[in-house]
């Protein structure tokens, strides 16, 4: 009789990386549908291009690194969808391909693949595209069906005064990146992930709360500030990324507040209209430090023999 010899535990829960990443993709689908409705078929096509690029890049990287391919674990699909969501629906296909390749090859795989990237690949790629190819992203299309002269326009945050109603902002009925404008569907996706306990609110709530607080003190229109720009996408889906945020609730709160402060400072004082992506990338750098100083105290304390 050949019996398996193995260390305990011999039981395993049903969670898996694939299921978790699949759930995140599922949570992004309502927003994708909203984007299709708002900006036309260009939106889902762009998302598909990004997903295909991500799968190919990840698979090739694994092959070059002589590793078993991790393309099947869905995590690169999440990255691709999030990156695509930050692009305007009119973005050229080559920009989408280049950005996704940057996210997967440079930010994720070159630092060791899933679980080892120091920055959120989607956020880093978005900033790369913004900084390196500003002309490609200069115009954001307005929603389909508006008068022709209004098809490309400035995003609400770039405008001097807010011409939109709360309803328009919630439904995403204005110019913007394809997956950032419809706050309602983003919220639905996030609540779904909360309900199945894939993500928590430890970073999200302090992030949004801090932005509300600072913007309120600065005399800005708080509701408008919360509902426009990439705040919803960032706070719901990027500040809850596993790999690039702290491990403990305490650490996540610190991370969320940091993101909120930087977002507000950029919105108030910087030349750029939006700061969510910058703030997340910036705080990503502090994750090891935050993790180091927010370690939980073990039950019964620590008795060190070496340090």
């Amino acid at each position: 009789m050949n019996l398996i010899f193995e260390d305990s535990p011999h039981f395993h829960g049903s969670a898996s990386t694939f299921k978790i990443m699949g759930a995140v993709c599922l949570a992004l689908v309502p927003t994708l549908l909203a984007a299709t409705w708002l900006y036309g078929l260009a939106a889902p096509l762009l998302v598909l291009v990004c997903i295909a690029t991500a799968l190919v890049c990840e698979h090739l990287c694994c092959a070059i690194m002589h590793r078993e391919s991790t393309a099947g674990d869905m995590s690169c699909v999440v990255t691709a969808m999030l990156f695509a969501f930050t692009l305007p629906a009119t973005a050229p296909v080559w920009v989408a391909v280049l950005g996704t390749a940057f996210a997967i090859v440079i930010v994720k795989m070159m630092f060791g693949g899933i679980g080892n990237n120091f920055a959120n690949p989607a956020v880093a790629a978005r900033i790369f595209v913004m900084v390196a190819l500003p002309s490609a992203l200069s115009s954001y299309p307005d929603v389909v069906g508006k008068p022709l002269d209004a098809i490309t326009g400035a995003t609400p945050l770039a405008l001097e005064a807010n011409p939109y109603s709360i309803m328009d902002l919630l439904l995403g009925n204005h110019a913007g990146a394809l997956g950032e404008t419809c706050v309602i569907t983003l919220l639905i996706g996030y609540l779904f992930l909360l309900a199945i306990k894939v993500v928590d609110a430890w970073a999200t709530v302090p992030f949004i709360g801090t932005v509300a607080l600072i913007m309120g003190f600065a005399g800005e229109d708080v509701v408008f500030q919360l509902l426009s720009g990439g705040l919803a996408l960032g706070a719901f889906f990027m500040a809850t990324d596993y790999t690039t945020t702290p491990m403990t609730p305490k650490g996540k709160i610190v991370f969320g507040i940091g993101c909120g402060v930087i977002t507000s400072l950029v919105r108030l004082f910087a030349a750029a209209p939006e700061g969510v992506a910058f703030s997340i990338l910036f705080m990503n750098m502090f994750v090891p430090l935050i993790d180091r100083y927010t370690r939980p105290r073990p039950v019964g304390g620590v008795k060190n023999a070496l340090v």
Binding site: M1, T17, I20, K303
Partner: protein, 445 residues
């Protein structure tokens, strides 16, 4: 009334306690037993019988000095060999093989023990051969000796049985509630400990009822109390149990005595009481036989040293070939590769698994934080795992690797299926090696 403290972390593995209604049954005594003399934590016993000697049930066959508990013959018959063998656990120890004479006669020299005072009581417990029967196998008498300057003020009875599949402690409480309570009261009185609490998971209300009835019958409610604790693995981990029942924390590197607690498993205390009633030392134990490969899962009373193959055959055999045989529960039990290994004092279950035997492949850590959330001791399992894999003793030290009790919650919950617990176990060994290496020269100087 004790306040119920919320314990950290924990997981909810499937319970699989299908044998909970299987009363404890005797099985046909075996023709032969093989009794290893290292069935406890501490020094192995030295054999005190020779080849060819006749032994009865309860005849002492091995004893030793220091941290050790005597071992007794579990069947009557003739000693056919006393030899040093390599055991499935990897250790080498003397093994006494006894061929049965089929009579199962008790040793006529056995008498009901009497005692006066703490020291005599502890000496009697030592004679009983009882060790921690929940799986730890720490000699019970040794635990009862409070070191100089320290005092027990709680007896904490571990009746959680939080491991899936196992129901042997549960059957003990249902069938012998009265003996359990007598045992608890006896231990508390003999060791002059003012209070005792029995911690039971709230998925065993029948056991709680049985214990409460026994307490009421005997009028010992002022000493013993039953406390229901939310069902969550590992509620029965020693430190978790103490925290849940008394609200105290055992300091790192310390023992339950440092929190004033004497922790005994419910079956252990029942066996101690059995010895004081009838004078028969620990020669058999109840095991839960379960898993999808056995024909008749249930709770069986088996003589110590009975071969696993014989136990399975005596209960009706296997339905299909198991891929994995686990001694103990699926969360902390050990696999055996040899079906001809003997039942030890601490074995509370034999699981023969086929369907759930093969675990999924490991993949990279995605830093999801689930392991940190479920660790009942507030550790950072993902970081311990990483430090263990690169043999970083200093990092392991900072992360309090020795606090880990290897409950397996982290590995159970890991979506990347990483063998976190196994890796931490290796990390502990590396850490101990490093500490020994660094402290050695200091001792020489």
């Amino acid at each position: 009334m004790f306040s119920l403290h919320k314990t950290l972390g924990g997981v909810h593995p499937p319970q699989c306690k299908d044998t909970r209604d299987c009363p404890c049954t005797w099985i046909e005594p075996p023709k032969q037993v093989r009794i290893p003399l290292n069935m406890h934590i501490g020094a192995p016993c030295t054999p005190c019988v020779e080849e060819g000697a006749h032994v009865y049930v309860g005849t002492k066959i091995g004893d030793g000095e220091g941290l050790c508990a005597p071992i007794h013959a579990s069947i009557s018959g003739t000693v056919t060999s006393v030899a040093t063998e390599k055991l499935p656990t990897g250790a080498t120890a003397p093994v006494v093989t006894i061929a049965s004479d089929g009579k199962m006669e008790n040793d006529p020299a056995l008498t009901v023990p009497t005692y006066s005072g703490k020291d005599e009581f502890i000496a009697c417990v030592r004679d009983s051969g009882v060790v921690g029967l929940g799986g730890a196998s720490f000699p019970t008498w040794f635990k009862m000796r409070a070191p100089e300057g320290k005092k027990f003020d709680f007896v904490v009875i571990n009746a959680m049985e939080c491991e899936p599949y196992i129901t042997s402690d549960y059957r003990q409480m249902i069938e012998h509630a009265e003996r359990v309570i007598d045992g608890v009261v006896r231990v508390a009185r003999a060791l002059e400990i003012p209070a005792a609490v029995i911690g039971v998971e709230d998925n065993k209300p029948e056991a709680v009822d049985a214990l409460n009835r026994a307490i009421a019958d005997k009028g010992v409610g002022d000493i013993v109390e039953v406390l229901m604790v939310p069902t969550k693995y590992p509620a029965g981990g020693e430190k978790v149990l103490i925290e849940a029942t008394t609200g105290r924390a055992v300091p790192a590197g310390g023992l339950p005595i440092d929190a004033g607690c004497l922790v005994l498993n419910v079956t252990t205390v029942s066996r101690v009481e059995e010895y004081f009633r009838y004078g028969v030392p620990l020669v058999r134990r109840t095991i839960t036989l379960a898993g999808d490969c056995v024909k008749n899962p249930g709770n069986y009373r088996v003589p110590l040293g009975m071969i696993v193959r014989d136990v399975i055959e005596a209960t009706g055999g296997l339905e299909k070939q198991p891929k994995k045989i686990i001694m103990g529960g699926p969360m902390m039990g050990r696999t055996v590769t040899d079906i001809d290994c003997p039942i030890l004092k601490a074995n509370n279950a034999i699981l023969c698994l086929d369907k759930d035997a093969v675990l999924p492949e490991e993949s990279p850590c995605i830093r999801c934080g689930r392991c940190v959330r479920v660790c009942p001791l507030g550790l950072m399992p993902y970081a311990l795992d990483a430090a263990s894999r690169r043999h970083d003793a200093v990092e392991l030290d900072e992360l309090a690797v020795m606090n880990c009790m290897e409950c397996g919650s982290c590995a159970f919950t890991c979506p990347a299926h990483r063998r976190i617990t196994a890796s931490i176990r290796e990390g502990k060994a590396a850490y101990r090696g490093e500490v020994a290496r660094l402290t050695q020269p200091a001792k020489e100087a």
